[in-house]
C-alpha cells in the first residue's frame, strides 16, 4: 500500500548521510571518547566537531556553552531545574505559558511542588503570548522565564526575540529559556538575536537520531547540574556520551540550517496549498493557530462533528500518517491542552488533526491526502449524531465520569 508520512512534528526519518555517519561511529570507531588510546581519540575529535557544528548553527559564542543529553525532554529538565535550583537564593518565581510541551509544563509543575511559585500565562486565540503579558507577570522574585519558540501542536511562533529584549532591559537578572525543538531548521535560530540564555532542541525533528538533544547555556548564567557522575560534558551531563548520535546530530543540524531557507519556502507553499484545499472543500473546518506567524510545514485543523482519532485511523488505513493533537496526548482522553488554552471548545478540540510536512513530501502527496480526507470526514459526519445541528442534550454519561476517576 502507498504510504505518506505527514507527521514530521512527531519525528523525522534520519537522513541517509547522517545514518551512515552514526553507523560508522557504532561499528568502526566505537571507542569511549574519554579513553586516552587511539580508539577513544578517534571519537573524541568528531564529537568535539559536532559541538562546533551546533555552536555555529545556533550562533553561540563558545563551544563550552553546548551540552549534549538524551533529547528535548531531558534538555528542558536540565535547563529549568538547573537554573531554578541554582538561583533559589535570588527568588522563587518562574514564568511559563499554557501551551508549552509537557517536558516544560510538567517540570514546572514539579518545581511548584518543590516550593517554587509558577505563573502559567494564558495565550490568545492563536496560541500566542505578548511581550506585555510576560512583562506584567514579572515580580521582584522572578528568576526564570521559559517560553517555546514555536508550538508543536499548532505551529504558532512566539515573539521570543522581543520578550528576550524586554527581559534583558530589567534591572533584575532573569534567565530566559526557549524550547526550540520545533523551530530549529525551520526558523532562524540564533541565541543572540533571540536574546536567550538557554535554548534546547532535539535531534530527531531535524532528520537526526532519536534520543539525543542539546542544551545551550550562555556563559555566565547561574546553573547547576541535575545529574551527578563523571566529568563528561563539563559535568553538566555526566555519563559516557552517545557519540554516534551526537556526531549524527551535529551533521543533521548543520544541514538543517544550511537548507533552511530553501526548505521553508518549499514547505510553506505546500502547506498553503494544503490549507486552502482543506478549508475550501470541507465545510465547518478551521485552521488552528496563527494564520501567518506559523511554522512552514505545519497545519492544524479542527473539523466539527467528528472526532480526531476516527479520522486518524481512517487516514491510516489509506497509508497516511498524521496526528490528532499531540502524539504524547493520545494516551489520555482529554483533548489537547494547547487547543483548550486557545479557547477552542472541548467538543471541537476533539476533532483536531495535525499535518506536518517534511523535506521528502510532494505536492502530489498533498493532493492524495486531501482527496482522501474529504470522503473520510463526510463518512464520519454521516455517522455522527451532531451533524444534524441542534444542541446535543447533555445527559448523564457514566462513561465520562468513570474516565475522570
Amino acid at each position: 500500500m502507498r504510504r505518506v508520512y505527514f507527521d514530521h512534528a512527531a519525528t523525522t526519518p534520519v537522513d541517509p548521510e547522517v545514518a551512515e555517519l552514526v553507523m560508522k561511529y557504532m561499528t568502526e570507531s566505537y571507542g569511549n571518547p574519554s579513553s586516552v588510546h587511539s580508539f577513544g581519540r578517534e571519537v573524541k575529535k568528531p564529537l568535539e566537531y559536532a559541538r562546533e557544528q551546533v555552536r555555529k548553527a545556533i550562533g553561540a559564542a563558545h563551544v563550552g556553552e553546548i551540552a549534549f543529553c538524551s533529547g528535548g525532554t531531558e534538555a528542558a529538565n536540565m535547563a529549568l531545574r538547573g537554573a531554578a535550583y541554582a538561583n533559589r537564593q535570588k527568588g522563587n518565581h518562574i514564568i511559563t505559558t499554557a501551551v508549552e510541551h509537557h517536558c516544560v509544563l510538567t517540570t514546572c509543575e514539579q518545581l511548584a511542588k518543590e516550593g517554587f511559585e509558577v505563573t502559567v500565562l494564558p495565550v490568545d486565540q492563536y496560541g500566542r503570548i505578548s511581550v506585555e503579558d510576560v512583562a506584567n507577570a514579572l515580580t521582584d522574585q522572578t528568576i526564570l522565564v521559559s517560553i517555546m519558540h514555536a508550538n508543536n501542536e499548532v505551529g504558532t511562533i512566539m515573539p521570543i526575540a522581543e520578550i528576550g529584549k524586554m527581559l534583558k532591559s530589567q534591572e533584575r537578572r532573569i534567565i530566559f529559556h526557549t524550547d526550540a525543538v520545533q523551530s530549529i531548521g525551520k526558523l532562524p535560530v540564533d541565541v543572540d538575536q533571540l536574546n536567550v540564555d538557554m535554548l534546547t532542541f532535539s535531534g530527531h525533528k531535524i532528520y537526526g537520531p532519536k534520543g539525543i538533544g542539546v542544551m545551550y547555556l550562555r556563559r555566565g548564567t547561574w546553573w547547576q547540574p541535575i545529574m551527578y557522575g563523571g566529568g563528561q560534558e563539563r559535568r553538566r551531563r555526566p555519563g559516557t556520551e552517545n557519540a554516534p548520535a551526537i556526531i549524527g546530530l551535529g551533521r543533521a543540524v548543520e544541514m538543517a540550517v544550511a537548507n533552511r531557507e530553501e526548505e521553508a519556502e518549499k514547505l510553506t507553499k505546500l502547506r498553503d496549498k494544503l490549507v486552502d484545499r482543506v478549508l475550501s472543500s470541507i465545510p465547518n473546518s478551521r485552521l488552528n493557530g496563527h494564520p501567518t506567524e506559523r511554522l512552514p510545514g505545519h497545519a492544524s485543523f479542527c473539523f466539527e462533528f467528528v472526532e480526531g482519532e476516527s479520522m486518524l485511523l481512517s487516514l491510516d488505513m489509506q497509508g497516511i500518517a498524521i496526528s490528532s493533537g499531540s502524539a504524547c496526548t493520545s494516551g489520555s482522553l482529554e483533548p489537547s491542552h494547547v487547543l483548550l488554552a486557545m479557547g477552542i471548545p472541548k467538543e471541537i478540540a476533539h476533532g483536531s488533526l495535525r499535518v506536518t510536512l517534511g523535506k521528502y513530501n510532494t505536492e502530489e502527496e498533498v493532493d492524495y491526502f486531501v482527496d482522501n480526507l474529504i470522503p473520510i470526514v463526510e463518512r464520519l459526519r454521516k455517522m455522527s449524531p451532531l451533524t444534524g445541528g441542534g444542541a446535543c442534550t447533555p445527559c448523564a454519561c457514566a462513561g465520562c465520569d468513570q474516565s475522570k476517576k
Binding site: 485511523l313 455517522m383 446535543c392 445527559c395 448523564a396 462513561g399 474516565s403
Partner: protein, 124 residues
Amino acid sequence: MYSEKVMDHFTNPRNVGEIPDADAVGQVGNPSCGDIMKIFLKIKDDRIEDIKFQTFGCGAAIATSSMVTEMAKNKTLDEALKITNKAVAEELDGLPPQKMHCSNLAADALHAAIENYRQKQKGA
C-alpha cells in the same frame, strides 16, 4: 492497538443511521468529553425488530456502537437489557484499557433507548 474485529466494525459499521419513525431513542455521552451515542429502536411485540445508531467518537466508540446493534437485533427487550458493556468489549476481542469507557456507552445507549420505550408505554 485495536483488534481486527474492532477495525472491521470501525471500517464497516453495521446498522448506521437513523430510524425516522423509531419507537424509542436513547442517547448517552456528551460532546465535550468526546463521545455521544444515539440508538434508535423499532420494536414489535417487545422484540427489537430494527436498530440503528449514530456515534460521535473514536474508533472504539464507533466499533462498540456497531457491535451492540448486532448483538441486540431480534432480541427481546429483557434479553437486550442483559447485554453488558463487558460483553460488547469481549465480543470485539477486547479493547485497549484506556478505551474501556467507550464500551460502557454502547450498552448504556441501548439501555437508555429501552428505558425510553418503557416510559412511553407507561404513558400511553
